[in-house]
Symmetry: C2
Subunit: 397 residues, 2 copies
C-alpha cells in the first residue's frame, strides 16, 4: 500500500460516524480509499456519509493523523485494510467484517488457522485450569490461540499459549497502543512480541462499552472455531460464540456441573447447537474438515490475488489450467523438508505468495502432513494423512 | 382374567426358550394364552416353538407352577399380561415390550406418567445428591419415579421419592420376590408398600447377566422419559437411555465436569441428541406435550377397551359420536373437586374405566388443571391451563 493510500485510510478510519460497514460501502461506491478521502462533500453526502464524517474529511485533525502515522511507522506496527490481499480471508468472509485492522506484532499469524478461546472474566479455578489445558494442547497442535485480552479465561488462554512457546492473537477493544485492563500491559507486550495485538480502533482509543461486542465479532470472524470455557448466561463470550455460529464457524463449549453458574452459558450454547467437548483432540478433529473446506475456498480466492512479484528470486511462472492446484501442492511438498523452514523461505522456493502458502499449510497441518512450530514448517513422518477422504473432497472442490 | 388363563400364562412364562417376543408371537398365532398352553406338540412346532418349550408345556413342573400361583394369590401380587387392557399402554407401544409383568404392590402406578431416573451404581456424592433432588422435585410434580433398584443412582431416586411420600416403581431383573442387591430388601419392601415392584421374570428367578438389559428395556418402555444422572461411557443407564430414545421417549442427561468420568456417559448421550437439563422444571416442561400426545393416543386405545360393567353404580351410557371426548372431560371435571379423591371414586362417579381416567388425568395433571398426591386427585385453583395450545391439539387428536 502506498503512502497516500495509508494516509487516506487513517483519515477515513478517524471520520466520526463511519463504522466498518459504512467505510466498506463508501469504498465500493468510490472505488478506492483515496477516492473516498478526497471526495467532495456533495459526493460523500450522495453516497450516504453522515455530516460529521464529511466535515472531518474536509478538515481533519492533522496532528492526530500524524500521530497515527507515527504509530504505524514504528517497527512491527501494521495496518491491514479490507481492500488488500493481506486482509485475513476468514474475517473477510464473516457477516459483518471490520474494514481495517491495526496490528502490533506479526500479521502473518492472522493467516494461520486460529481457534478462539473465550469465557468469563471471573471464572472458577477449574475454568482457568481448563482454559490453560485446552490452549496449550490446541497451540501445540498448530492452531493459533485467539482471544480478547480480558481477565479470566482470555488471559489464561493467551498465557498458556505464550508459556508453551506458541503464538497467540489478542483482539482488543481499545486502540492497539492501549491495554485494558491496564494490569495486562506485560501480557500485551509479550503477545505483540510473540504473536499479534489486533484492533479495529486507531491508537489512543480508550475502552468504550459499544466496542466490546464489535471486538467479539472480530475474534469470531478471524477464527475457524470458538471454544467457550466458562460463561454466565449473559456474557460477551456468548456473543462471540453466536457470531461464530452466524459466520458458519464451529462453536465448542465445555460442559460443567449444574451447580456451577458459569457452566450455564456453555450449557445454553450446547442446547443451541454448539458441540459439547471434553478434550482438545475432539476440537482438532471437528475443525479439520472445516479447515479444509475453508482452505480450499481461500486458495480459490488467493489464486486471483497471486502475483509473480511475490517471488522475485524464483523461476516461478503463471500456472496453466492443466497443472492447477496439484502442481502448487507438488511444488510446496518439494520445498518442505524434515527441517523446519519459515514461510518466507517457502515463498522463495515455491514462487507462491505467503497468503496462498498459509492456506495450503493450514490444510496440510490439519491433515497431519505438516508440523508447524514457531512459524516454521516441516513435513511429518506420518506415512498417510489422517483425513484422506476429506482431503480428496477438498482437492476436488 | 380367569383362573385357567392365569394358569396358562404361568405355564407359558416358565417354558424354557420362550422369551417375551416368542410368547407374543404364539399368542397371536393361537389367539389366546389357553390355546397356546394347550396346543399339541406338532401345532407348537409348526408355530416355531423350540423343543424345550414344547416338552415343558406337555409336562410342566406342577409344583413350581403351584408355587407361582401361590405367590400370585398373596395380597398385592399381580400379573399384568399383554392380552389384557390392564397392561401398561406405554410399555405395550415400546419396540420390544415384555409379554407379562409380575407386580408386587399397586399396579395402578404403571398407568401413571412415569419418569425413569437411572445412572451409575458407583456415583459421586454429587451424583447422589442430584438424583435425590431431581427425584423429589419430579415426584412432587406428580410424576412417578421409575428405576431399577440398583445401588447408587437408582436407589437414591427411589428413596427420595419414598421419603417425600410419593410412589415409585422398581423394575427388577430377578423374580419379584427376590431382591438384588440383597441389602436393598427393606427398600424393596417400602417400594412394594408405597409403589410397585415389577418384573418380567417369575418368582424365584435369581439375578442373571442377560436379564439386566431386558430389565432396562422395561424401564424405558414404561416411562414417558428417562433421566440419566451420572453414567460411565459404557453402562446399563446408557442402554436404558437408548431404549427410551428408540421407543420415541424423551431422554434427559445431566452434564458434569469434563474431569468427572461419570459425566462421560451423559455427555455422550447429549452428543447423540439427549436433552441437556439443569433443573427439574425443564424436564416437566419438555414432557408435557409428549405426555399429552401419548395421553390422547392412549385414550383412543382405551375407548375401545371401555365397558359399561366398569361402572356398575353409575348412570353411565355409551357416549355418542356427538358428545365424544369432550363429554368425558366434562364428566371428569364435574366429578373432581378441590378435595382430593381417589381414582376408584372418580371411576364410580364418571362411569369411566380407571385406565381411561388415568390417561385423562395425566393430561390434566401435566396441564396444571389437576393436582395429584398419593393417588388422590383434585382440581387446582389455576385459572388457566399452562399449555392451552397443546391441550387444544390433544383434544383435537
Amino acid at each position: 500500500m502506498n503512502d497516500d493510500a495509508i494516509d487516506a485510510w487513517l483519515r477515513v478510519i478517524r471520520a466520526p460516524g463511519l463504522g466498518s460497514a459504512r467505510i466498506r460501502q463508501l469504498l465500493e461506491h468510490f472505488g478506492s480509499i483515496t477516492a473516498v478521502a478526497s471526495a467532495s462533500g456533495s459526493q460523500l453526502r450522495a453516497a450516504g456519509a453522515p455530516d460529521a464524517a464529511i466535515q472531518w474529511l474536509a478538515a481533519p485533525d492533522r496532528e492526530r493523523l500524524a500521530a497515527d502515522r507515527a504509530w504505524l511507522d514504528a517497527p512491527d506496527h501494521h495496518l491491514l485494510t479490507c481492500d488488500s490481499a493481506d486482509f485475513p480471508a476468514l474475517l473477510q468472509r464473516a457477516p459483518r467484517p471490520a474494514a481495517a485492522l491495526f496490528v502490533a506484532g506479526d500479521p502473518q499469524w492472522l493467516w494461520f488457522a486460529q481457534i478462539a478461546i473465550v469465557g468469563s472474566r471471573n471464572p472458577t479455578d477449574g475454568g482457568i485450569a481448563n482454559a490453560r489445558d485446552f490452549s496449550r494442547a490446541l497451540a501445540k497442535s498448530g492452531l493459533v490461540i485467539t482471544s480478547g485480552l480480558a481477565e479470566g479465561i482470555d488471559a489464561a488462554a493467551h498465557r498458556a499459549a505464550l508459556d508453551a512457546g506458541h503464538a497467540t492473537v489478542a483482539v482488543v477493544a481499545t486502540g492497539p497502543d492501549l491495554v485494558y485492563p491496564a494490569r495486562h500491559r506485560a501480557l500485551a507486550d509479550a503477545i505483540a512480541a510473540q504473536g499479534a495485538i489486533v484492533s479495529e480502533y486507531p491508537p489512543g482509543t480508550t475502552p468504550q462499552r459499544q466496542h466490546f461486542p464489535m471486538r467479539n465479532r472480530v475474534i469470531a470472524g478471524l477464527a475457524l472455531g470458538t471454544l467457550v470455557v466458562e460463561a454466565a448466561q449473559r456474557s460477551g463470550a456468548l456473543i462471540t460464540a453466536r457470531e461464530a455460529a452466524e459466520a458458519g464457524r464451529e462453536v465448542f463449549a465445555l460442559p460443567g456441573s449444574i451447580h456451577n453458574p458459569l457452566a450455564r452459558g456453555c450449557h445454553r450454547l450446547i442446547r443451541e447447537g454448539a458441540a459439547l467437548v471434553e478434550s482438545a483432540p475432539e476440537i482438532i478433529e471437528a475443525m479439520a474438515p472445516r479447515a479444509q473446506e475453508l482452505a480450499a475456498a481461500l486458495r480459490g480466492r488467493l489464486d486471483a490475488a497471486r502475483t509473480p512479484e511475490a517471488a522475485p528470486d524464483s523461476d516461478w511462472t503463471a500456472p496453466t489450467a492443466a497443472d492447477g492446484e496439484d502442481a502448487d501442492y507438488r511444488r510446496l511438498r518439494a520445498a518442505l523438508g524434515h527441517d523446519p523452514v519459515p514461510i518466507d523461505v517457502l515463498a522463495q522456493r515455491t514462487g507462491l505468495t505467503v497468503e496462498t502458502l498459509s492456506s495450503m499449510l493450514i490444510l496440510m497441518e490439519l491433515d497431519g502432513r505438516v508440523a508447524a512450530s514457531h512459524g516454521r514448517y516441516a513435513l511429518t513422518t506420518r506415512p498417510e494423512p489422517r483425513h484422506a477422504q476429506h482431503r480428496a473432497q477438498a482437492e476436488d472442490g
